[in-house]
């Protein structure tokens, strides 16, 4: 019997970048630029808060389970979350700042769409899986560590000259 092989990381990167671009252009009519990808075993991964200011972070999180298992955390500064919520709802940034329920709902739904689109690409490659419930975290200087048997890839994007970082933990090769 042949060992099952998971899509290579370049393919996974392509799915992730396409998912981000697709959601940002369709839902926000705005572009997002892919800057770089880092693997866990390479130097370069730093906690998100060290990338910029110490402003509070908003993190959308969603998993996928099935023949591929993983979880993705989408980190952004709070001001970026406000910009996204404003673009998606048509409300002014100053209005959404006082409505974290709206910001939470927007970031949860954007995470759901991005990872759902990414997951659908994984499904199309023959690895059937479903997304889990999205959650949204808010805080400062937070960092998620990798779990056993999961590999970690970090994708750095730029949106309106601000970073958005996607942390992907994924189990592959039948682990």
């Amino acid at each position: 019997m042949q060992e099952a092989s998971f899509p290579n990381i370049e393919l996974v990167e392509g799915l992730m970048v396409n998912a981000m671009r697709n959601v940002f252009s369709t839902m926000l009519s705005q572009s997002v630029d892919f800057k770089a990808r880092y693997s866990r075993d390479k130097a370069g991964i730093k906690p998100f808060y060290s990338l910029g200011s110490k402003d509070p972070l908003v993190v959308g999180s969603i998993g996928f389970v099935g023949e591929a298992n993983g979880v993705v955390y989408i980190y952004m500064h709070q001001d970026v979350a406000f910009q996204i919520a404003s673009a998606m709802t048509g409300m002014a940034v100053s209005e959404v700042k006082g409505e974290f329920e709206i910001v939470k709902d927007v970031i949860g739904e954007v995470s759901n769409m991005v990872i759902g689109t990414f997951k659908n690409g994984i499904c199309d490659l023959g690895f059937n899986c479903r997304v889990t419930l999205p959650t949204v975290l808010r805080g400062s200087q937070m960092e998620v560590d990798s779990v056993q048997s999961a590999s970690r890839e970090t994708f750095h994007f730029e949106y309106m000259k601000q970073p958005i970082v996607m942390d992907l933990f994924i189990q592959q090769n039948g682990k």
């Binding site: 709902d105 759901n112 769409m113 759902g116 059937n128 899986c129 479903r130």
Partner: protein, 137 residues
Amino acid sequence: MPQLPIVVVADDSAVSRSLVLQALAGLPVRTVEADSGNAAIRAINRNKPSLLILDICMPYPDGLTLLKMIRQDAEFEDLPVIICSVENGLMERAEAETFGISGYLTKPIDLKLLREMTVLTLDLDPGVTVRGEGTQP
């Protein structure tokens, strides 16, 4: 004045519901929002809608379970349903199609396409628009 057809929009995300309402804006329909499967059941029983726009990943019952329940209910077995979901796996699509749906859109949804699908499903005159049709929870 003739009664407007009612569209129930069932999605646990308020943002997604508002996008659907945006897609239907101006159409001669009345919209009713539901933020869970059970809220959708209540909205369907109360309003006898002409169309259900349904998410799959929702608090209990989820969209596919709700679709199955609708098809097993003699009163609503023919209710047109358009699925709007982030799920695009072959299994979810095949299951939904088994139960009978009028359309399946993957999020992020194309609002123009959803509007066109609604017009076609409800046999609306695309030239007729109304202002100020409300939505209710």
